[in-house]
Symmetry: C2
Subunit: 333 residues, 2 copies
DNA sequence: GTGAAAGCGCTAACAT
DNA sequence: ATGTTAGCGCTTTCAC
């Protein structure tokens, strides 16, 4: 039988409320009793029961993170960071993988609803009305990651990449390196944040630089290596002039792009430069990817959930920084 | 105010126990009442409170997974699989990252102890006495992953790679491909399962094939890309004859080995073949790694925790299979 | 400063 | 078959 607060109270010859006060660090306990209680607690290795506690406090210290795919390197990075901050705040992360399947996500959410979680982070790839509706059922703070909503109504706070800024900055970076024919292999066209905003950033920057974009230079698929391969293939086959640089939606896509190029014996970065986003595979992939590194992802999610202004719904962007590695080169050198 | 079992009972004009029976699918309820209850449940979107429930059933449906590093690709694979099986069994996974820091792991375990989890999976990299002691405090099933204990005493069931078999099979595979100078870049020497057993498998297979192993052909570091680089460097610098093939402890190490080789313009697999383990980066890395693929990891962990014979402590190995890709080649072709 | 007691939402005897 | 009731282990008024 596990030992309970009663046992401690009995052993320390105090009431259970006193034990409770000691555990919760309430001031109103004499040193005398506090010590007796502490001794009993240590003596029995007493550990309070979290369920019983949360039953009355309505506070489970549980944060649920729903991911489309835990194996995605950037997902793993987020999860680790979120887990870290939560740890610091005495919370614990429930990690769920819905495998890109919204039906599964719905089931998972019901499961989370039972658990009275303190907060929910939903990393969506396709925010349907059904998903949104379910999200609204949560009595706790809910934060969206990855994909934001399109409107300005901001039903939920969203913590994500500054897609527009990132695409614009990458484009400017490549233009600065002397590139003029720059193609784009990005995420889903229906995805507002990662698709449309990204494309706009690229388009605007190209326009600002006075550069044309042939139709064949734009490919929108999903966030996978296969999509990268497919995208580069399409661009290769349909373009009169090959681009000298390719912007991608993520490192994973960039890898696909590079793979296709390699299969054609086109060298990266000598012949074509490829730029990633996420800095998620820097220690694995060769050549080291020029990419965009994000910062403080864990903290930003946590703040969005539980911070002072968590009630104001808004869009929050990770701080980011372009990092030059060896998948891009300067044309004028 | 959240709605509770009482509200449902009141609305359906039955007792709370009837509501409870309906929810738990107990047969002993008339269709009449069952329907009334169901209707009320749907009407109010009632969701039972998991904490209250587990307070009495002593069953949280929570499985904790403690990982050294969530970002490791093989870790992510395991986590996803475990999450999947648990899902199927109506359980939920708490994912924790202790960042290779046993002190952190200890703190995490205390946290889990509070929560009355149903089961614990500890993916250890260095099983100290302190860790083991804490593990013994859990009243629930505990399963070790990754690193097993050295003795046959089997304090805890361990679910892991068949290190000996894998190393032996890889060696035989390479010998079969005509390699005779085969080097080894593996995990920590102190690590029984992943270090010693692995090395033995390699040694035994080499001996069986009548092949010598120069001292310089063996490097034992940790499971990182850096260790792979360092290991290959050492082998390169200290060997009279370069090996024609290198066995590694994991894909991550293999990547390091290949990186070093590349930096010297030594081609893989033309000049040197490199064999990985885990099949964790197949969709990311070029060249595609010849490696060892594991199966049913999630199921095996789950079985070990909650299966019929979960009480018998033992070592369980994942089924595995060597997969030939393009980081190795046949010498006699 | 300390203790008694109510109650969090649920399940599981135990009655009926 | 259904209802009554006693807890599960804890926190939190409310007295003293």
């Amino acid at each position: 039988m596990e030992i309970t607060i009663k046992d401690i109270a009995a052993d320390a010859k105090v009431s259970v409320s006193t034990v409770s006060r000691v555990m919760n660090g309430s001031k109103a306990v004499s040193d005398e009793l506090r010590h007796r209680v502490m001794r009993s607690i240590e003596k029995y290795h007493y550990i309070p029961n979290a369920e019983a506690r949360s039953l009355v406090t309505k506070n489970t210290h549980l944060v649920a993170v729903l991911e489309a795919d835990l194996r995605n390197p950037i997902t793993a990075i987020h999860l680790k960071q979120i887990s870290d901050v939560c740890m610091k705040h005495n919370k614990v992360v429930i990690a769920c993988d819905y495998d890109f399947d919204n039906k599964k996500a719905l089931v998972l959410m019901d499961r989370m609803l039972e658990r009275n979680i303190d907060g929910l982070i939903f990393q969506g790839v396709h925010l349907t009305d059904e998903i949104l509706k379910k999200l609204h059922e949560f009595p706790c703070p809910v934060v969206l990651g990855n994909q934001g909503l399109s409107g300005d109504d901001c039903e939920f706070t969203t913590v994500t990449v500054d897609s527009y800024g990132v695409a614009r900055d990458i484009t400017e970076f490549l233009v600065g390196d002397g590139h003029r024919r720059i193609a784009y292999v990005g995420g889903n066209a229906e995805d507002y944040t990662n698709g449309q905003l990204r494309l706009k950033g690229y388009r605007d920057a190209m326009k600002a630089a006075g550069l044309e974009i042939p139709d064949s230079y734009i490919y929108q698929g999903n966030f996978s290596t296969e999509a990268g391969v497919e995208g580069m293939k399409k661009i290769y086959e349909n373009s009169r002039d090959l681009p000298t640089a390719v912007i991608t939606g993520s490192d994973i896509i960039a890898i696909g792009v590079i793979r296709y190029l390699k299969s054609l014996n086109i060298r990266v970065p000598e012949d074509i430069s490829v730029f990633g986003v996420d800095d998620s595979v820097s220690d694995i992939f060769d050549p080291p990817l020029s990419t965009v590194r994000m910062f403080q992802q864990g903290e930003m999610f946590y703040e969005a959930l539980f911070g002072e202004h968590a009630d104001e719904k808004k869009i929050i962007h990770f701080p980011y920084q372009l990092v030059r590695r060896n998948s891009t080169r300067k044309l004028w050198q």
